[in-house]
Amino acid sequence: MASTMLWASRAASYLRISVFHRGFSTVLKDLKYADSHEWVKVNGNSATIGITDHAQDHLGDVVYVELPEVGTAVKQGDSFGAVESVKATSDVNSPVSGKVVEVNEELSSSPALVNSSPYEGGWIIKVEMNDAGELKNLMDSEKYSKFCEEEDSKH
């Protein structure tokens, strides 16, 4: 057990992720987060968006992802699509405003990628941002981790 933890910590610092040993969800340091549990990775004007590890864990097994059309306009905080799990459809909201330039077509045949790889293979859309200033409305990894802890302690 101890050696697994040591390996996990070393792997974590190599990959620059935070690993909470109490079994909390993974939160990546370089991403920004919305309070509706979506993450965004910014590269210049391009934003890649998905849902977080915390979100996928609370959703259950994703069986369907509703993707927007390329070219659709998105607004910060507004819904752009949905995921279905355990007979529940949950809206997915965009953390930034802009235009959808790419969607992850893989999710149509492999929706479970959202569960198994929420930050990599399970990315949902890519957006060309029209207002990078909006990013200040989002949380960094530390704030988001605290936010998740607070939410989970409510019940």
Partner: protein, 235 residues
């Protein structure tokens, strides 16, 4: 722990499916703006088939044009889940609640809806249980007694659960219920030897199980609930 939790219950009797859908949309919007507390609609529908967001209409086994002949409607919705049937003597609960305020995710919410129906069943000596992975719902052995289909938008729920008290099970023969081919549908009437009280009493028990499981410490009953909200005026 969180503060006192209030639930407002609307006992609505028979409601047409589309009217209920429009009402839910209005209530979701009101709940999101914190204009209303967590709200629970308790009702029944006339014979209605409904599909979820994935539009799995291949699971409707008769042509849509024939539905009128059997006295049923068909509606497409944004909820999760597959095709199902709603009708008289089936108790429906549509909770319009804020999952964010109580810190629940979709999975835990749905599990509590399952528990609500399991607890109700146990009041009549019926041993029901939650479905296996991928088969959300409530089962007595291999027979389905309760169905769930939910929508969550900005953390607010709509649609909900349907519990078979004593619906006409023949209606289920025209669909592959919930997309599961080899399992039967059943009802409380079929599964218990206990004499059933009035349906109103069973609806109240269902509401009671729900409010207890979700931890509501204040339950108020809305006076004269109607499809028209307090904000709308009759011209």
């Amino acid at each position: 722990m969180r503060g006192p939790l209030k639930l407002e219950v609307w006992k609505m009797g028979f409601v047409n499916y589309l009217d209920a859908l429009k009402l839910q949309e209005k209530l979701v919007s009101d709940r999101k703006l914190c204009r209303i507390p967590d709200t629970l609609l308790s009702l029944q529908h006339p014979p209605t088939y409904t599909l979820g967001k994935r539009r799995t209409d291949h699971n409707l086994l008769i042509p849509a044009s024939e539905l009128k002949n059997i006295g049923a409607e068909l509606h497409y919705t944004q909820r999760g889940g597959d095709i199902t049937f709603h009708g008289p003597h089936q108790a429906i609960l549509y909770p319009i609640i804020s999952l964010r305020e109580i810190g629940l995710g979709a999975r835990n919410y749905v599990e509590k809806l399952e528990s609500t129906m399991i607890e109700l069943s146990s009041l009549y000596g019926v041993k029901a249980c939650a479905g296996q992975k991928g088969e959300t719902g409530v089962w007595v052995g291999e027979r389905k007694i309760g169905a769930i289909g939910v929508r969550i938008s900005h953390g607010i729920t709509s649609h909900g659960l349907a519990f078979n008290i004593d619906p006409d099970l023949k209606y289920f023969k025209h669909i592959v219920p919930c997309g599961i081919t080899d399992k039967e549908v059943t009802s409380l009437r079929r599964e218990t030897s206990t004499v059933l009280p009035s349906e109103e009493a069973i609806h109240e028990q269902l509401i009671s199980c729900f409010s207890r499981l979700f931890g509501y410490n204040t339950v108020v009953w809305k006076e004269n609930p109607s499809i028209l909200s307090d904000h709308e005026e009759i011209a």
